[in-house]
Symmetry: C2
Subunit: 527 residues, 2 copies
């Protein structure tokens, strides 16, 4: 996530200290690894790669790094061989006459080669340019171990010598990254799948997930480095299929649960640095996904009743607040102040998808309510029935076998997918719907996030269309790999592969949590 | 100094540990002072100021600094009211929604307003762009006290917010500089002069000297921050008239004395950071000025015989090495490998000035040699006589009353001035020469440094032309003040006031040691 933002400065939040203590207690251990670059690399033009840029190994051998003398405008690209999140350090020295002027460096960190080709001065998008991973550094005295204090997310590091002086050159030694993740690779579950392409996709999924596993599940370690509940839901699911770190899921659940608004509403994301603090952005579907994350956790770890007991009330408030927006016919009314996200794209109507997500969450809530012997259980069941009934009667076009959305009775992919995920229709009906959807709405247009593609793929599996689901996974996530992905990207539109939602790749995130789900889908539906 | 450089990588240096220990023992105490900005300022166009830029006080009150909210591309200029050398810190915080992107700042430090107007990206001179006092800084978490680790030389600080995010603004609190100097203002000698303009010139001289007084006498605290012997000679003289810090002069003398080449030659400058190290640049006149600095020190502190005893031998080697270049007629032959500096300008012939500087230093050496009961004293006296005799016979044009220089018998100001400083001519003859020089060679052309102007002014005083000397001081150093100088500049050509030897003011030094001498001249010749 990142694209959506609101400003609601006046909102007041609760801080449940007991839950915050539990969030603190479940802080996952960060694992560190020291990694050296694999080689010195060169940026090359390559039409098949993202943005038209690829990387080739340089003639210069990394073993001889310290023999290369760099002066004004010289630069070197270090390739660490895979995506890392962590802290970069390098020893710097000089050669020649005494160092009669400071050393001035520019250091760029890139997840994909095209970032190295972009000029930060050209960036003029609305998203903060502070996300560009580029530092200008002066060093008055050499030799010096340069330890950059900030964490970066990268595979490539370009060091450009902005200047030395006419009298000396600089040399580099011992570049390394101290990488960080709370993923424990020794606990990685076996997810072997015979298909090589799917295996690659699984591996990149796992890398994506691991790189986003830090103190919390981050949405992207390059940007925004925050815990969004929409990403959390998918990360937790991918997590159960891989590293299965219970602590981090619990920590994230407690963080959201501890800090709703005074009214009880869960915000769309929380910050953990410099202090734990909820954002003032609210999305109805994201608030409801608190229930989903809790439901999925209980399913994955049915013995852990404490979490349910601690957080059931918070889950219930999300439903209760939503009930106010459901009319007597079972229709969810969505407001501008509390919109549904569904996907970044605002080019399609989201009413029906929102209705479906509400059904999806309400169904999960009822399961939790049953475990908790909820006294108002029947009420919730009644509302669920009325929402399903409304959806089938008023939103489903029986003639075309597609759901419609909004005043203009728009047919869009999100409506079909979410109605199937919400199990509003039988498997047979779902199959028909997805068949029609494939015929009429495929290839998917105007959707550029793995987040939405995940839901389309899962709907295909649920509708019994395994081959089509696999095809979609290969043509979407697989294509990212063909274009150079070491981790899955925040945004990718196969029709416009160079598309960046921010107009420039240097602020895009190329390791983004909501891209990590193929390993979950493959494990759940194929293994 | 700075303009001259050579690369002599193969030179080997001696390290006399005893002398280095004495250099260490005489390290002056650095005095710290915390200074707050006087006001928020705005850059204005002002044709009368350096580079066409001046400063005016902003409508925004510094007392309300923390109430100003800054977002992308907003900036603020802090005016500290005078020139400072030191460490800058500021508290940063944010206001608005939670900080959902790093803060990205550009901080520029400027000694003069025009530096704020220059773009660092436009700089393309040969001098290292690493000297530009401009930092780009990312802060991931606020609030934060930002303490920049580097030392800057400045009066103005411009903080530009490169970006926040659409959701928050940044605010600034408690900007301050922790200033550094080894000058002790409580020990400043009274130099009161009735003339207001001269008093101002004295005050700016003193500030210039104090700002360059650090661990050693630096040539410029912005750039190059090194101990050059040509600057040292003038700083020490200005020092005796003001703060009279014996330690720093001794430290500098011992540093040069401890690290000549294996042959014994004193290098033109030494570095003290990260380690004590002589540069591989050699200038004949600068090597000889080791004698002058020692001579001046003994004159200022006649009781301190230890320094003379420790360093006499080093002084003697400088003369003895030079003698090899003096022919039987008393003519100094200057080589390309060991040139004379005299001034930055290479547009005039330096042979006669070099000859005069050699006489100047030899005369001082003979004084020292007498104190040390030098056995070869007569030899040195004989050489002095022959050099003077050669100069008067072969280099002086009796018809025009001017010295000539080089094959083309060029008449230039440097030759006249140095022959007068070397006391080759009587006071009456000197007076005549300077009268002719004023008529024929004034206003001085093609010379852009206070270094050379200092020697012209002193020659006028020695020639008994006090009014003319005062006029020159007022029209040169006084004009810098009118153009906005808080400290005297590295380079200034009154005919081309915007001239920078580096093509761009952002690498020029506007607090430069060799500009500090008016206080010495005024005290010696007027008080």
């Amino acid at each position: 996530m990142a694209f959506t933002f609101q400003i609601n400065n006046d909102v007041k939040f609760k801080h449940d200290e007991k839950l915050l203590i539990k969030a603190e207690e479940n802080t996952p251990e960060i694992k560190h690894k020291t990694v050296k670059p694999e080689c010195i690399a060169e940026l090359i033009n390559d039409d098949k790669k993202l943005g038209g840029y690829g990387i080739k190994k340089s003639q210069r051998d990394i073993k001889n790094l310290s023999s290369y003398k760099l002066k004004r405008d010289d630069s070197i690209i270090l390739d660490f061989g895979n995506h890392y999140v962590g802290y970069f350090s390098i020893d710097l020295d000089y050669t020649g006459s005494p160092m009669d002027a400071p050393l001035f460096l520019r250091i760029k960190f890139a997840e994909v080669p095209v970032e190295l080709a972009e000029k930060s001065s050209d960036y003029d998008g609305w998203l903060s340019r502070s996300w560009i991973q580029e530092e200008y550094i002066h060093l008055d005295e050499l030799p010096k171990k340069l330890r950059l204090p900030r964490r970066y997310s990268f595979r490539y590091v370009e060091i450009k010598v902005m200047d030395t002086s006419p009298k000396y050159a600089t040399v580099f030694l011992n570049p390394e990254v101290c990488s960080e993740t709370s993923a424990d690779y020794s606990k990685l579950k076996n997810n072997s799948v015979n298909d090589t392409e799917l295996k690659n996709i699984c591996d990149v999924s796992i890398r994506t997930l691991a790189e986003c596993m830090q103190d919390v599940f981050e949405d992207g370690p390059k940007r925004d480095r925050r815990l969004w509940i929409g990403d959390l839901r998918l990360q937790a699911l991918a997590g159960y299929a891989t590293f299965d770190n219970k602590d981090i899921v619990k920590r994230c659940l407690y963080l959201f649960g501890a800090m709703p608004t005074e009214e009880g509403k869960i915000s769309a994301n929380v910050f953990v640095k410099p202090k734990i603090q909820p954002d003032d952005t609210f999305l109805l579907d994201y608030s409801l996904f608190f229930i989903s994350v809790l439901y999925d956790y209980i399913n994955a770890h049915p013995d852990d009743k404490e979490v349910l007991h601690d957080l059931y009330k918070v889950a219930k408030i999300q439903i209760d607040l939503t009930l106010k927006q459901i009319d007597e016919n079972g229709r969810l009314k969505i407001t501008d102040e509390y919109p549904v996200f569904v996907d970044w794209s605002n080019e399609f109507d989201k009413d029906t998808a929102g209705q479906a997500i509400c059904i999806y969450a309400l169904r999960q809530f009822i399961s939790l309510a049953e475990m908790m012997r909820e006294k108002d259980l029947l009420l919730y069941k009644k509302i669920l029935d009325s929402m399903i009934s409304f959806s089938r009667k008023e939103l489903y076009d029986e003639r075309r076998h597609l759901f419609v959305s909004g005043k203009n009775k728009e047919y869009n992919i999100a409506s079909q997918v979410w109605m199937i995920l919400a199990k509003v229709m039988s498997e047979k009906e779902s199959h028909t719907i997805m068949e029609v959807a494939i015929k009429e709405l495929f290839p998917v247009k105007g959707i550029a996030t793995p987040y939405m593609y995940h839901h389309v793929a899962e709907a295909l599996f649920i509708a019994g269309m395994t081959d089509e689901a696999i095809n979609l996974i290969k043509s979407y996530w697989g294509k990212m790999i063909k274009m150079g992905a070491d981790t899955f990207w925040e945004a990718f539109d196969p029709d416009k592969p160079d598309y960046s939602p921010y107009g420039n790749s240097i602020v895009s995130s190329y390791c983004h949590a909501w891209g990590c789900t193929p390993v979950y889908l493959i494990k759940k539906y194929l293994i």
